[in-house]
């Protein structure tokens, strides 16, 4: 029943047009918030239609739509989703609802513009995941920067201008290389369809350059060490909603881009240069783990922990070549890619929850310094429960979604090389160390000062916001099968693509 509707177009344009409606409606009546909530909830419900109507058995693009857009260059409005993009679209729709709810009372200045920015961004991000035309993808990929640039710049912290310009230029710098790569692929293949790019054969030299272009573009987004420095700045200065979207979705676009472009289009170069990505990923996991340990700012700490967690995503994607080399069966390869995907989704929820927790504290105390807190759990017991739970999930406690992805990747890494697994597994110690130490300093102990003593516990809005996230984190942790089932066929297909040489 859902396949008859142009569901993807609805999911893209409903939030965009809804956002414009909210913007036009303005701040003078009280409709900005309820209208945004309605739009975002309807979008979420529609996105669940994707899950219901999704056929797990095939790797083919589903819910496909195609219409000519720029006929002169044969650029099409081509949409479609597979097992990689579908969960990410639902994650996007869900996160936007959370962001709208999180900004309900906190944002008092230019509310309609704030809500509109997030709604428009939701549409653009869904479009990025659904695009099957390279130029269409790029247009949305770049357009997404505009609302986020404004969100950080207008509603951000004291150093917001520096952070947002750095964010914009950094990501723009990365993505122009993507544009060159896409244009070159068009030059070679004569088409702008991403699926045609997958089939085009390329020489090793071409592949190396294309791969490096993809890597620059997506490594900045992920972000991978050493091009990660924009992220802590952007996170620290962004309002809570901005941080949630940054951590939950925009970083994922980096991982998604590697899956959609780098691996299938340039498999030989990916294999030849996998040491580079694996090295950078392990550096992110270990080195950034230590960096996180040293942070005194709550948001910075979570930002660095995001980088470390995203290291697992890139590690999982690129160890497959070593697994192929070691064992012919390749079952570990499936584990690696699925682990990376689960990590992408799970980190989306957990990082969002962590930033929301910081947001809850910041709204009350207006500081993010860890040293300003202490014994919060005494005055905010319910919030304390949530915070400790999400911290555990962030540290990878079995039973939470944080464990599943990391465990799958580490398990797969064993099949590639013992030392990869060993280094990756240090995150279980480091992650626990920086997260739990932070929790200890903020939550437990004596009530540190008068401000903490005067804290009020979370209200009903915050409670529902956090508990919905907690339920999902727990559900994926206990029973990840519904998530891995939808992506299984696509993962298998990706593995056949990367194992076939294009030379």
């Amino acid at each position: 029943m859902f396949t008859d509707l142009p569901l993807l177009s609805l999911l893209i344009w409903l939030p965009v047009l809804g956002g414009i409606a909210v913007l036009v409606n303005g701040d003078n009546n009280g409709w900005a918030r309820p209208l945004s909530l309605i739009i975002s909830v309807v979008t979420l419900l529609l996105s669940i239609g994707l899950y219901i109507g999704f056929d797990n058995a095939t790797y083919q693009m589903q819910f496909a739509e195609q219409a000519p857009w720029i006929a002169t260059f044969d650029i099409n409005y081509a949409l479609g989703i597979d097992g990689f993009s579908m969960p990410l679209i639902i994650l996007t729709a869900f996160s936007t609802v959370i962001v709208v709810v999180a900004g309900w009372e906190v944002i008092q200045d230019r509310v309609s513009q704030y809500m509109a920015a997030f709604l428009i961004m939701e549409g653009l991000m869904i479009a990025v995941f659904a695009s099957l035309d390279a130029i269409l993808f790029y247009v949305f990929f770049e357009a997404m920067l505009i609302p986020l640039f404004l969100v950080i710049g207008i509603w951000g912290g004291p150093n917001r201008v520096y952070a947002t310009i750095k964010f914009f230029l950094y990501t723009l710098f990365g993505s122009v290389f993507l544009l060159l790569a896409l244009l070159y692929l068009h030059h070679v293949s004569g088409s702008f369809s991403i699926l045609d790019f997958h089939k085009v054969s390329l020489t090793m030299q071409e592949q190396i350059y294309l791969f490096l272009a993809f890597l620059i573009a997506f490594a900045v987004k992920v972000p991978m060490w050493p091009v990660h420095t924009w992220l802590p700045d952007a996170h620290v200065e962004a309002p809570t909603g901005g941080s949630v979207i940054l951590a939950a979705i925009t970083l994922k676009i980096g991982g998604y881009g590697l899956i959609r472009f780098a691996l299938p289009i340039t498999p030989d170069a990916s294999m030849a240069l996998d040491w580079l990505v694996i090295g950078l990923s392990l550096t992110a996991i270990v080195y950034i783990g230590f960096v996180a340990l040293a942070q005194s700012d709550l948001k910075k700490l979570i930002a660095y922990s995001s980088i470390a967690h995203m290291g697992f995503v890139t590690l999982g994607l690129f160890i497959v070549f070593r697994i192929f080399a070691n064992s012919a069966t390749g079952s570990g390869a499936v584990l690696a890619i699925e682990g990376a995907m689960v990590q992408i989704i799970s980190h989306g929820f957990i990082a969002a929850a962590m930033f929301l927790c910081v947001g809850v504290l910041y709204d009350r105390m207006h500081t993010r310094e860890i040293s300003a807190y202490g014994g919060v759990i005494n005055t905010m017991p319910i919030f304390g429960g949530f915070a400790v739970f999400f911290a555990m999930a962030n540290a990878g406690l079995p039973g939470t979604s944080g464990f599943v992805g990391e465990f799958m990747v580490i398990l797969a890494a064993y099949q590639a090389n013992f030392w990869y697994a060993f280094l990756a597994a240090t995150t279980l110690i480091l992650g626990a160390a920086y997260t739990l130490w932070m929790i200890k300093r903020v939550m437990f102990g004596e009530v540190a000062n008068e401000n903490v003593a005067n804290l009020t516990d979370i209200n009903r809005r915050e409670f529902w916001m956090l508990s919905s996230l907690a339920i999902i984190v727990l559900a994926i942790g206990l029973w990840p099968a519904p998530l891995t089932e939808v992506m299984h066929a696509s993962v298998e297909h990706l593995l056949t693509q990367v194992s076939q040489s294009k030379l």
Binding site: P68, W69, I70, A71, T72, F73, Q113, I135, Y138, V139, F140, E142, A143, L145, I146, F149, L150, G153, I154, R160, V161, T164, I165, F168, L169, L172, F173, V176, F177, L179, L180, L183, Y184, H186, H187
Partner: protein, 477 residues
């Protein structure tokens, strides 16, 4: 001599405009300052009717006036664009001129004559026609820059513009004469045929070509022939800057295509290298120096230089697709430039020029709508999708990737990242800074509507660029 009366119909728009220009001149002479409003209306009417005449004759093409004048798809589209843009230019500039005691008939007379010059340039099939059009256009513009007699800056700008413009014309003329020496003709079609037939002395040919390219570089404002551009943009009254920064770029682009492609297309390999130098230098100098500017007009001048670099990328590719891309870029650039200078005029008041970047502080709080319009224009200039500036960059970069000039493409995209910085700075001061002044914006209603239409068309063309791209492609394929 084959001079048929029926052929003159091809030049009907020009002839009509010439007649009207003379009529308007008489009105100015007889009514003096009282009649300026009539002059303004008449000028608008002239442009509108000329546009209509061009529209009615779409699809017809041919060469007339003994091979000196050509009417083809290329000339129709560009002339149409010039008309529409100049209608908006006159609309924007009127409110500026009125508030500064510059509201005089001369501005409109010069503008109409200058527009006539552009039309002649666009339709030139002969070096002499080309030169005639160029001089008509330029001489009017020199006078326009100097119109604000009491302003030192404007006078200085006019002097610089005149002297450098004269040098450029001289270079061009010298180049033309050398080409004449090599091929024995001033007629572009004959030159092309002679070159194709072969047996020419390539040294002479390329020697002449150098001067032609220098002349084109001067007129477009490409580095290293760009020195006049920032001073003139900065010094001229904003209404005149607006005029200079828009339609003449289309005419200069037409000149480049007529000379390099129509006339010297077969020695493409000679001029390609020269244009690569001009283009790369323009992109680098334009973008890097723009960062240091505090005056918005000056910043836009440097940004123009960088855009010229991008336009040249399309031209140098030497492919039909590249020419179409360059044409698309030129049209899009004028549209964006029109909006940006229009915005400066909109924010200016009696005795106050809104031309420093600081004047835009907190615009989003003073007037969210115009801030949004400016945001659209700036992001479009920076080449961020879904705005039309992105497709302009996309098409020209695509055309040079298709001829495997990857290194030039890499420079181009890196420079557009650097360029993004100074456009972002405008958005930053509008949205992230506190307002410095709180006076409400005053502008006539037609100006307010027009600037919104202008900026929204940048967005609309960005969402649906297909039609305009198809028009540009149809001209060359």
């Amino acid at each position: 001599m084959n001079f048929e009366v029926t052929n003159m119909i091809f030049a009907l728009p020009e002839m009509f405009m010439l007649g009207m220009a003379c009529a308007i001149l008489l009105v100015v002479a007889y009514l003096g300052e009282k009649g300026t409003n009539i002059v303004y209306r008449l000028s608008q009417l002239t442009l509108a009717i000329t546009a209509l005449l061009i529209y009615r004759s779409l699809g017809e093409s041919g060469i007339t006036f003994d091979g000196t004048y050509i009417k083809d798809g290329f000339s129709d589209v560009l002339k149409m664009a010039v008309m529409l843009i100049n209608i908006v230019v006159l609309l924007y500039s009127t409110s500026y001129l009125k508030s500064r005691n510059l509201f005089k008939g001369e501005y409109y007379v010069l503008a109409i004559f200058s527009t006539l010059g552009m039309m002649i340039m666009i339709s030139a099939a002969h070096f002499l026609t080309l030169y005639l059009g160029l001089e008509l256009m330029s001489l009017c513009m020199y006078a326009m820059v100097a119109m604000h007699r009491d302003s030192k800056l404007a006078t200085e700008a006019a002097m610089k513009y005149f002297i450098l413009g004269a040098i450029a014309s001289g270079m061009l003329l010298y180049g033309m004469s050398i080409i004449y020496g090599a091929t024995g003709s001033l007629d572009l079609a004959t030159i092309a045929a002679t070159i194709q037939a072969g047996g020419l002395d390539n040294t002479v040919l390329s020697f002449g070509l150098v001067f032609l390219v220098i002349g084109i570089g001067f007129k477009l404002g490409a580095v290293p022939f760009h020195m006049w551009l920032p001073d003139v943009y900065h010094g001229a009254p904003t209404a005149v800057t607006l005029f200079i920064a828009t339609a003449p770029k289309i005419a200069a682009f037409a000149m480049a295509i007529r000379i390099l492609v129509d006339g010297l297309g077969d020695v493409h390999q000679y001029w390609q290298g020269m244009l690569i130098m001009l283009s790369v230098l323009s992109m680098i100098i334009g973008n890097v120096v723009a960062i240091a500017q505090t005056n918005l007009k000056r910043m836009l001048a440097y940004s123009t230089i960088s855009h010229v670099g991008f336009i040249l990328l399309g031209v140098l590719s030497g492919s039909q697709e590249g020419y179409a891309a360059a044409m698309f870029y030129a049209l899009v650039y004028t549209l964006m430039s029109l909006g940006s200078f229009g915005m400066i005029i909109l924010l200016s008041r009696q005795g106050f020029e809104a031309d420093t970047i600081d004047d835009y502080k907190g615009l989003s709080q003073r007037n969210p709508w115009y801030a949004l319009m400016m945001l659209i224009l700036m992001f479009s200039m920076a080449g961020i999708p879904p705005l039309v500036g992105f497709y302009a960059k996309l098409t020209v970069i695509k055309s040079i990737i298709d001829i495997n000039l990857i290194s030039v493409a890499i420079i181009a995209v890196l420079m557009s990242v650097i360029g993004a910085f100074y456009y972002l700075r405008i958005i930053k001061v509008m949205y992230f800074d506190k307002p410095k002044q709180s006076e409400p914006l005053e502008a006539p209603a037609e100006m307010r509507v027009m600037i919104s239409v202008n900026a929204l068309s940048v967005l609309a063309l960005g969402l649906f660029p297909g039609a305009l791209l198809a028009v540009c492609a149809s001209v060359f394929y």
